[in-house]
């Protein structure tokens, strides 16, 4: 019988291997699992490479984090990372990740998914995970098309985009992921592109260090079904990679929202960051207050007190 521990109780004491033998430094090789199944040239390769680089740079032990995804091309992600992962169902990676984050704050939870997975079928969860500010890092690998199902219109496809479900061109207003995240209450909102790896790594590092729900929209070109989609944001293809102006105040929500409204290719970098407390912290505080009256009591004694009231 455990004594009542302040939540989150990490668990029973962990017996680590002999602490005198230091762990060998974690390498990219240790972190590599299955060979990615993406098409050659897919932007997702860069995101995966940068993620492994981040883990290596930060030396995050393999047991200390999880990679979670839903369904889609980008959602194959967890199979390519040699660490704990879950390949969940379509659109629901965020509530799944929330379950991990809220019950095991000792773990860092990363979510990878596409625009369809996170913003269409999972749109409701995106809103509520943002609002609750659950400590998760979420990378939206946005290719503006459904790739795994072979070219249907996605929630971020621009008006006029010709797909198998819009043969004469999409007519629906697309979602602006950055605006959506800011409006819903995400506390770290950034935009990157797979064509600028160093910039993406910087934002990933900022996201890992952020205590809250961090969202990075990363443009990741689908070379099979929407080639050239992001050329306007790629200097090597004649476009412009516009960094957010240096004088932008990331704490200014309205300014961030305005900045995110710029026409494509728009700006890249950190739009918004706030120190609003996470649900993780608020729940822990709630538990602390609830437990004050029961200090020193074992679980069965607390239960017995409830039974006494039912006599």
């Amino acid at each position: 019988m455990s004594t009542t521990a302040t939540f989150p109780a990490p668990s029973a004491p962990v017996t680590l291997p002999d602490p005198n033998t230091p762990r060998k430094p974690l390498t990219k090789g240790d972190l590599t699992a299955e060979r990615p199944t993406w098409c050659p040239g897919c932007g997702d390769f860069t995101v995966l490479a940068l993620y492994l680089k981040l883990l290596e740079k930060r030396q995050l032990p393999q047991e200390s984090f999880c990679s979670i995804s839903g369904i889609g091309c980008s959602s194959r992600f967890p199979y390519f990372v040699q660490a704990y992962g879950a390949h969940f169902i379509h659109g629901r990676s965020l509530p799944f990740a929330s379950g991990i984050s809220l019950s095991r704050p000792d773990l860092h939870v990363f979510v990878f998914g596409g625009d369809g997975d996170l913003l269409s079928i999972g749109g409701n969860h995106f809103t509520h995970t943002s609002r609750k500010n659950i400590k998760i890092t979420c990378v939206i690998m946005d290719n503006c098309v459904y790739g795994l199902t072979k070219k249907q219109t996605s929630p971020t496809s621009p008006i006029g985009f010709k797909s198998k479900t819009d043969v004469t061109g999409s007519i629906d207003q697309p979602i602006n992921p950055v605006k959506q995240a800011i409006a819903a209450g995400a506390t770290y909102v950034a935009r990157a592109s797979s064509t600028n790896p160093n910039h993406l790594l910087q934002l990933l590092e900022g996201a890992v260090d952020h205590d809250g729900f961090s969202v990075i929209e990363c443009l990741s070109e689908c070379v099979a079904f929407y080639p050239g989609a992001f050329d306007a944001a790629n200097p090597r293809k004649g476009g412009a990679f516009n960094l957010i102006p240096a004088d932008h105040d990331v704490a200014n929500e309205v300014a961030a929202y305005k900045l995110a409204d710029a026409a494509f290719p728009g700006y890249f970098g950190l739009f918004y960051q706030s120190k609003r407390p996470t649900k993780n912290r608020l729940e822990a505080e709630l538990n602390q207050r609830s437990q004050e009256k029961f200090q020193g009591l074992k679980d069965w004694q607390i239960l017995k007190k409830s039974f006494e009231k039912m006599q």
């Binding site: 047991e63 019950s103 538990n287």
Partner: protein
Amino acid sequence: MQTIEKVISMSEATTLAAPALGGAKGASAVPEAIIRLAGNSQDGIQAIGGFLARLAGRSEQEVMTFMSIPSTISGGPSVFQVRISTGEVLSAGDEADLLVAFYQHSYVEHLRSLKKGGIVIYDKDQVEPNPEWEKDYRHVGVGITSLTVEAIGGTGRDKGKNLFVLGLLARMHDLNTAKLNELIKGRFGGRDAGVLDNALAAFNAGYGYSLEGAVETFRFSASAPKSRRQVVMNGNEAVAYGLIAAGVRFGTAYPITPWSDIMEILRRELPKYGGTYVQCEDEIAAICMALGGSFAGRVAVTGTSGPGFSLKTEALGWGVMAEMPLVIIDVQRGGPSTGLPTQVEQSDLNIAVYGSHGDAPRIVLAPASVEDAFYTAIEAVNLARAYSVPVIVLTDQAIGSRIEAFEEPDSEKICQDLTPDLTPVASHKLYDLSAPDGITHRRSPGTRILDGRYPVATGLEHDEYGHPTGSPKLRMDMQAKRRKKLQALVAKLPVPTVHGPAKGKVLLVGWGSSQGPIREAVDRARAAGTELSALHVRYLNPLPPGLGEILDRFERIFVVELNDEGLYGYGQLASLLRSRYCNPRIQGINKTEGLTFKVKEILDRLNEKMTRLSNLPA
């Protein structure tokens, strides 16, 4: 069955001058009383029923209640029935000994639920009695509204009438007023002192009211002393506290009637134990978040009622495929669609057993009573852990809302600690095919795996590490693994026991909350000299061993269940049993009117079906 009407003695009817406390002299001893309170949902009649039930629990009596509430936001007719007995109570009772009617509609609607010769106490200020009915039922008019206003002020629309009635009932049944006072203080004390003063004033006014010799008083005969103290709670509370005792410290849900009670209790209680209960944006998020908690090493729980269960089935399939321990509570209500939101039905058996695309074996069990609901919750958690599989507990609106008294569980003995074990391991295959009976014991994130190979939990068909596979052989092996572990469970389940003779002409089969009325029907029939047996199926998927052999020993089998007879004439459990045992003698007794089975109704329906058995009591 002895009832009030049979044992009251008119000569002892005038005991109203008895001392206020300490028991009425000359009160008739009765073994049980069935009291029905009929009013509107805002009158607080559930509160009186609750007080009576808790008092019975403290007095070592058996008690069971029945409640119906409208699905409107406020107002609408509401009824609460409480059966208090010194012997075993199996149902809330078919017909009441006493009816309290707050309004004309309560009087008109519920008079026929009274036994012939039973007593109706009606509010003189609200009810115009029907002279026709006065012949068959004893009418006692009391100015409940005006007397309550006289006692505590306010208007007739204000609260207080319920406590006045409680006072009346306490006097009539010689209830322990000291204990009742304690209960009233427990409920109304601590807030505004005026609230408690008013409550006690209303109670005392009712208690002190002279019924002018119109009604005699009763006293419950002594009941057998219980070995442990009793607790009194409803089925939803039993599930919630059972989960806490089982060691559940993480759960998620979306509000839906009649499940919401459980999530409200868990949200309030779990933080005391260092746990968290999350209210989610929708039903789908709730099961997904619970699965996340399970993946993270907790045994997470989510719950819902009918419509919510439909929404959860895709994620449930992931739980089966990824082999995650998860407990899903379904407090069934009338379906399909929005159906009968506040009324009972047992029509989610099919979706619980089969719901989800593909072949997705899972465990389904259903508690029979409030006490059983407490222990079923614990068992569900342990089965989920042992077999790494979702476990569905099918309770229902009737069991969820009814109050029963049972022996206080031994907290120290039953409380479990399910803190995840993160001790490093040499290697780990999440879907190890060499595991005996296909039962793998999963390691949670946070556990270092020394060979450096980490598993992925997945909904795709997979290899032993959770990586996708296209191999037909692996596919078949994994499918078999998920099936075999539940087949292995069958061997460990107890063979169900028959209530009544182990073989014979007729067997009634039931599941869930119908166990009580079915047993009472069997007892009543047997007392009248008719051979009848009953079988309760607690494990619905997989079915327990020995069931087919039991069925074989009876000439006729009737599955009594609260669902439709279906296109082919059989209810959901009846269909399941027919397909499992190929026994053509299985038939059904079904209904979906939103109310639990009455004992008489079961026997009448059986008589209809078995015209040959003409000697069953009507």
